[in-house]
């Protein structure tokens, strides 16, 4: 392998690693705040990527039906809880948040889709369509189970994954789609040629990570999320509502998933089930970070991306095997290092 092949592979590995790093962050965030192993993270990627490709083709993406339908179901749940608690003054906010907002976004999408608006507006529209699915999924599937054990939440995640991926097949069809690049420019950096799209990926990933860092460090909501992650009961005692924390973490996870989907959609063909595998590799990155530390998760994900790139050169038939087998050494090391503590669930 010559030096420039090594550099090509490194560039490819870092681009993929940036996406895996974003996903690892999202998975870690959701896990630490809500103890949910969020397998459907990959579905947000597929939905966002396919919606962008469909908007570019001038068609209305089927996500609008999932958004409106999901919003109605979540509104029904919340309304039932409000009626049961005799707190009817909550109903207008529920209606506004879960019914009117999704319907407004869906109407906007229905109006804008055939007009093939500029890329910027299409990206914003996709964000508007897919990101609200995060809190909606949380309200429907996870909030009722908020006190269940991690295993039950994981099984709920698998169910949500199958439901969303089945809906993805219904609305997007079985064939893959690609969208046009943000820009076709190529830059020469020394000996390698980097495409503008991969630079966009790395740039956007870094920006998202910085924004998250500032959010968690400086803003009130970010600190509330961190508090819930450290100790849920303690957070409730100081007045942080767990539903708010859960909803917010799912909103952030959906946002990260949507951004990842929009970024990789021009680079590769996305099918309705591609997101699952990408999310799984993000999960491997999070495990390499010990499922506890954000910087380690990012580092682990980038290492994973590089490993995948070099493995695909050296031994492409075993690439997937290698990529998933590197979960084992950190897990063995972690379990040998920590003493076994019984899960601290009293319920």
């Amino acid at each position: 392998m010559s030096a420039d092949i090594a550099l090509w592979l490194a560039q490819d590995g870092i681009t993929n690693g940036a996406i895996y790093a974003l996903l690892a962050l999202a998975l870690l965030l959701v896990f630490s705040v809500t103890r949910v192993i969020f397998v459907p993270q990959g579905e947000f990627i597929s939905y966002a990527a396919l919606s962008l490709a469909l908007l570019q083709a001038g068609q209305l993406p089927g996500v609008v039906y999932v958004l409106v339908g999901g919003g109605l179901v979540a509104a029904a749940f919340d309304a039932a809880a409000a009626v049961r608690d005799r707190a009817l003054r909550r109903l207008p906010t529920i209606l506004a948040g879960y019914v009117l907002l999704p319907c407004a976004i869906a109407a906007l999408a229905w109006w804008a889709a055939p007009r093939k608006v500029d890329l910027v507006w299409q990206v914003l529209l996709v964000i508007g369509l897919v990101v609200p699915l995060g809190p909606i999924v949380y309200r429907i599937a996870y909030q009722p189970l908020a006190n269940a054990s991690i295993l039950v939440l994981f099984i709920a995640s698998m169910a949500v994954h199958y439901a969303l991926s089945g809906l993805g097949l219904v609305f997007f069809g079985g064939e893959g789609l690609r969208s046009a690049s943000f820009s076709d420019a190529r830059f020469k950096l020394g000996v390698i040629e980097a495409s503008a799209q991969s630079l966009w990926v790395i740039f956007a990933s870094v920006v998202v990570m910085l924004v998250l860092w500032v959010f968690f460090g400086r803003s009130l909501y970010g600190k509330a999320l961190r508090a819930t992650a450290v100790n849920r009961v303690g957070a409730r005692l100081v007045g942080i509502r767990t539903e708010l924390a859960g909803s917010l973490s799912f909103l952030l996870a959906a946002f990260i998933g949507t951004v990842s989907g929009i970024l990789i959609s021009p680079i590769t063909t996305i099918y309705y089930d591609t997101g699952f595998l990408i999310g799984l590799k993000g999960f491997v990155g999070a495990i390499l970070g010990g499922m506890a530390s954000y910087p380690l998760a990012v580092a682990g994900a980038v290492v994973l991306g590089l490993l995948e790139a070099y493995a695909s050169f050296w031994s492409s038939a075993f690439k997937e095997t290698i990529v998933f087998a590197i979960i084992i050494p950190p897990l063995v090391w972690l379990s040998l290092r920590s003493r076994h503590v019984e899960e601290e669930e009293e319920e």
Partner: protein, 377 residues
């Protein structure tokens, strides 16, 4: 009251047994799951098939196996045990089809296999493979390679049975056509990048590259090779030929050459071409029902399977009634002797040693030009 009920039940039961000699065909397809993009086309064909087989009414039971071989085997068992089908058809993934064929052989039921597959002789006794063999199709590619004087050929294909089948077929023609396969790179269907594999191929710089993908998955290595500056010819196999491949590949796949069945370009076939009439009629009906540009090879396989059955059923009906073991054996024997059945893909001539029956009339070379597949003259 009880007597009335009992006599009504008896009448209904008698009516059921004196029903027409209805033929039951059990189909298992991967309509969801990774093979969904192909499975949907197979299923669509069943909306266009004739309503009778050999003059008798036919009932199709179509089940979804989610592209999972275990489910395919389960579906096949259910179809033979509970629904007592006379013949099976399926599936759209090679591992699923192999599983179904094994169940069919155990249950002594003939099966029309809808993907190319390598089967053991006991299983092949009951299996009739509708699509062209990979050897037949890659033979056209090998002839092209020989005509261009290519001495080294790079291969990149799926890391599953389909990639293996295409590689083996390409290899079987290597010695006779004077080329050598120098790389055997693989990638998974869901992969987002094949940079490493493509760099490996480019560092070896073969005279041509053959891609063993299928559907839009075949576009990924082609686009990656072109992006990295590979200028020599890139060939594809018959699993890649559909409109979505061109849509996804964009400008990068212009000029890609593939081998496929004649039903992809029936308008351009010469009038003397054996399957022109059948291919043209089927493609027209398919596109008027499912949209312009939706033509594909997979619906043709299902349709051809039914056409072959249509030719074999009259012979079998002379010997036994549908729904009996004798009928299934008679149908098997009749299928083994079909002669000159003109399908959308080719002309089928089966015999005891050849359960596929296609020859060179079942393949044409096509290339991508101006956003669609054109016949290579």
């Amino acid at each position: 009251m009880k007597l009335k009920l009992a006599s009504l039940a008896l009448a209904a039961g008698l009516a059921a047994t004196t029903a027409h000699a209805e033929i039951t065909v059990g189909v298992s397809l991967g309509i969801t799951g990774p093979g969904a993009s192909l499975g949907v086309h197979y299923r669509n064909a069943y909306q266009l098939v004739p309503k009778t087989l050999g003059g008798e009414p036919v009932r199709y039971i179509i089940l979804d196996d989610a592209s999972d071989p275990t489910n395919a085997a389960k579906n096949a068992r259910k179809l033979v045990a509970e629904d007592k089908v006379d013949v099976l058809m399926g599936s759209n993934g090679v591992p699923s089809a192999v599983q179904m064929a094994q169940v069919a052989a155990e249950a002594k039921t003939p099966i029309m296999v809808l993907t190319p597959a390598n089967l053991t002789p006991q299983v092949l006794h009951w299996s009739f493979i509708v699509p062209q063999t990979t050897e037949l199709m890659m033979g056209a590619i090998a002839a092209q390679l020989k005509a261009r004087g290519a001495k080294t050929v790079g291969y990149i294909g799926f890391s599953d049975t389909w990639g293996d089948l295409v590689y083996k077929a390409l290899d079987s023609h290597a010695a006779a056509s004077g080329y050598q396969i120098v790389t055997n790179e693989r990638y998974a269907r869901a992969d987002t990048s094949v940079t490493g594999q493509v760099l490996r191929i480019i560092s070896v710089n073969p005279d041509a590259v053959v891609v063993g993908g299928s559907g839009t998955g075949g576009a990924l290595p082609h686009v990656a090779l072109v992006e990295r500056g590979y200028k020599k010819p890139i060939y594809h196999n018959h699993g890649t030929v559909n409109a979505e491949f061109i849509k996804v590949g964009g400008k990068a796949v212009a000029g890609a050459v593939a081998v496929t069945g004649p039903l992809i370009v029936p308008e351009e076939l010469p009038d003397s071409f054996a399957t022109r009439a059948v291919s043209l009629e089927f493609t027209k009906r398919y596109e008027s029902t499912f949209g312009a540009g939706s033509r594909n090879a997979f619906a043709g396989y299902a349709y051809d399977g039914v056409l072959i059955l249509n030719a074999a059923v009259p012979e079998a009906l002379k010997k036994a009634k549908p729904g009996t073991a004798e009928f299934r054996e008679a149908l098997r024997a009749a299928l083994e002797n079909v002669r000159n059945v003109v399908g959308t893909h080719g002309v089928y001539n089966m015999n005891a040693t050849n359960h596929n029956g296609l020859d060179e009339r079942a393949r044409v070379l096509v290339y991508v030009d101006g956003g669609s597949w054109r016949l290579m003259k």
